[in-house]
């Protein structure tokens, strides 16, 4: 049994090496397939990351009136932080907001002048609220505007909540990214499927040239499993080599794309993603290559093994 297995493996390796042009064509097609599969991984990573970073940017700012007491605001912060749907609440004092405003407008002489003439700080303190999920913002805002305990007797201390201004933009962006992700994935899956079928056909074609050989093997008294084995080994080898080529190709490509696209993708670097997820990408590509190669060979040889 062991010698048979060894023979199947060495036979497959020899077949692969000796049928040069055919093996080359098979590897090439499989490389294209696996490159597309790899692109699918990267695209999905880009989209997920963009969506995540965008969702991370989304927050709700609550601006307080200028005479609101810091203690009241901090109390509201505590209450908000105790809500399960709130991820974080950041307090910015009136002074901090003023410094922030000044640095943001330091090139705008007119605004700074107006601020100086005013003499007092016109800005109220603010709370920046981040929810665990973007869909929670509605509920949080509702909580703020409806709970009477946070509007003490001295009149409402909340000046404005910017959620209502941002809501439409946030919704549209989320929808757009969601749609892009779905459409992108659908297209790439379609491409991956098409190229897999082409790879299958190529392997079958490669084995078609060996059909006389298969007939001879049968006549010499080789069992079907023994005939099929080396072809499957050769198919697996083609898949593996193609996976290695595709992985090697992704190295310079992601390096270049990582550099140029990183600012555009909000700091997401494809190259670092590739390196840090190399194990996962390697297993997916090698696994797909091996599976396609083995399956195609198995199907192709089966056709010529019927009596």
């Amino acid at each position: 049994m062991w010698t048979m297995i060894k023979r199947v493996f060495t036979g497959g390796a020899k077949n692969f090496a000796r049928s040069g042009a055919v093996s080359f064509a098979t590897v090439l097609i499989m490389t294209v397939t696996l490159t597309i599969v790899g692109s699918l991984i990267f695209l999905s990573a880009i989209l997920t990351n963009t969506l995540a970073s965008l969702q991370d940017k989304v927050d709700v700012n609550v601006y307080f009136v200028t005479d609101a007491q810091e203690a009241d605001i901090l109390a509201i912060q505590d209450r908000l932080e105790s809500l399960p749907e709130v991820a974080s609440v950041e307090y910015t004092s009136r002074e901090d907001r003023l410094t922030e405003f000044r640095t943001r407008n330091e090139n705008d002489q007119l605004t700074i002048q107006a601020l100086d003439e005013l003499g007092t700080n016109p800005l109220g303190a603010a709370l920046a609220i981040k929810a665990t999920d973007p869909s929670q913002y509605g509920g949080i805002v509702e909580f703020l505007s409806e709970d009477s305990s946070i509007s003490p007797a001295g009149g409402p201390i909340i000046d404005s909540i910017n959620y209502f201004q941002n809501k439409a933009v946030i919704d549209r962006l989320t929808g757009a990214i969601d749609a892009t992700e779905k459409a992108g994935l659908a297209i790439v899956i379609l491409f991956a499927l098409a190229s897999t079928i082409i790879a299958l056909a190529t392997v079958r074609l490669a084995i078609y040239t060996a059909r006389d050989e298969i007939a001879v093997m049968r006549l010499v008294g080789a069992s079907n499993a023994y005939i099929r084995g080396p072809f499957i080994v050769a198919g697996v080898l083609a898949g593996l080599v193609a996976a290695l080529i595709a992985l090697a190709l992704f190295y310079p490509v992601t390096w270049y794309a990582g550099e140029t696209l990183s600012t555009w993708l909000g700091g997401f670097n494809l190259f670092t993603y590739y390196l840090s997820n190399f194990g996962m990408i390697f297993s997916i590509l090698a696994g797909t290559g091996i599976l396609v190669g083995a399956l195609a060979s198995w199907l192709a040889v089966r056709r010529y093994l019927r009596v």
Partner: protein, 226 residues
């Protein structure tokens, strides 16, 4: 050893390949089957090798109905028969040595036995110096000798040769027939089909003559008469 019992084969297009053929072949015989092209010689061999199924009748090999064998047992049966073809049918991307070794590997023989037997067989068919040539680097006669080496390596009970000299010049034809004769003298049954009158007459062994799917003559000390 081989018994064709009223074998009839109607091809898919309706023409008769074999009609009511009954032949018995004893062990250690050397039998030539002669006849025009289309007389049914190759169809007869296909029935024996289970490459095709008869429409009617049975084929026995040592009391086994070979067409009743399940597919999974077929390769064991085929190992008992060494086959030689007009077009050699070597595996093109294997060397002479590997082509012969393949038959042993397929039969599951151990490596040390293969390393011992293959050079011996290569010497027997006079190809000791060309063991590592690919079929494309060998002449027709040399390729046929590789094919014979492959056919006999597993010490089969029967050698079946379908027009083994059909593609060869007279000198190579003589050499191939000489090798087959030697194999027969060593105790292996040999069944060949041929067009070559010279070959048949020189052998002076049993000749079965076929015409249009029927056996028309069967002579123990036969001549090629058509």
């Amino acid at each position: 050893m081989i018994y064709f019992d009223k074998v009839t084969k109607i091809h898919r297009d309706g023409t008769a390949g074999l009609e009511d053929v009954t032949i018995a072949i004893a062990p250690k015989e050397f039998v030539s089957i002669v006849g025009h092209s289309g007389a049914g010689k190759t169809t007869l061999l296909k029935m024996l090798l289970v490459e095709d199924r008869p429409t009617d009748g049975t084929v026995f090999f040592e009391s086994t109905d070979v067409h009743a064998l399940p597919k999974s047992k077929l390769h064991h049966y085929r190992r008992k028969i060494g086959m030689v073809f007009q077009d050699f049918r070597l595996i093109p991307n294997k060397t002479a040595y590997e082509n012969i070794a393949f038959a042993m590997e397929a039969a599951g023989r151990p490596q040390d036995e293969i390393e011992l037997d293959v050079p011996h067989i290569l010497d027997l068919v006079d190809l000791g110096g060309k063991a590592h040539h690919f079929p494309s680097q060998l002449s027709g006669g040399e390729q046929q000798r590789v094919a014979i080496g492959r056919a006999i390596i597993n010490q089969p009970d029967l050698i079946v040769a379908d027009e083994p000299t059909g593609n060869l010049d007279p000198v190579n034809t003589y050499e191939i027939m000489d090798i087959l004769k030697k194999i027969n003298e060593l105790g292996t049954t040999v069944l060949i089909t041929t067009h070559n009158k010279g070959v048949v007459d020189a052998m002076a062994r049993r000749v079965i003559t076929m015409d249009r799917g029927r056996v028309i003559r069967d002579d123990m000390q036969g001549q090629y008469i058509l």
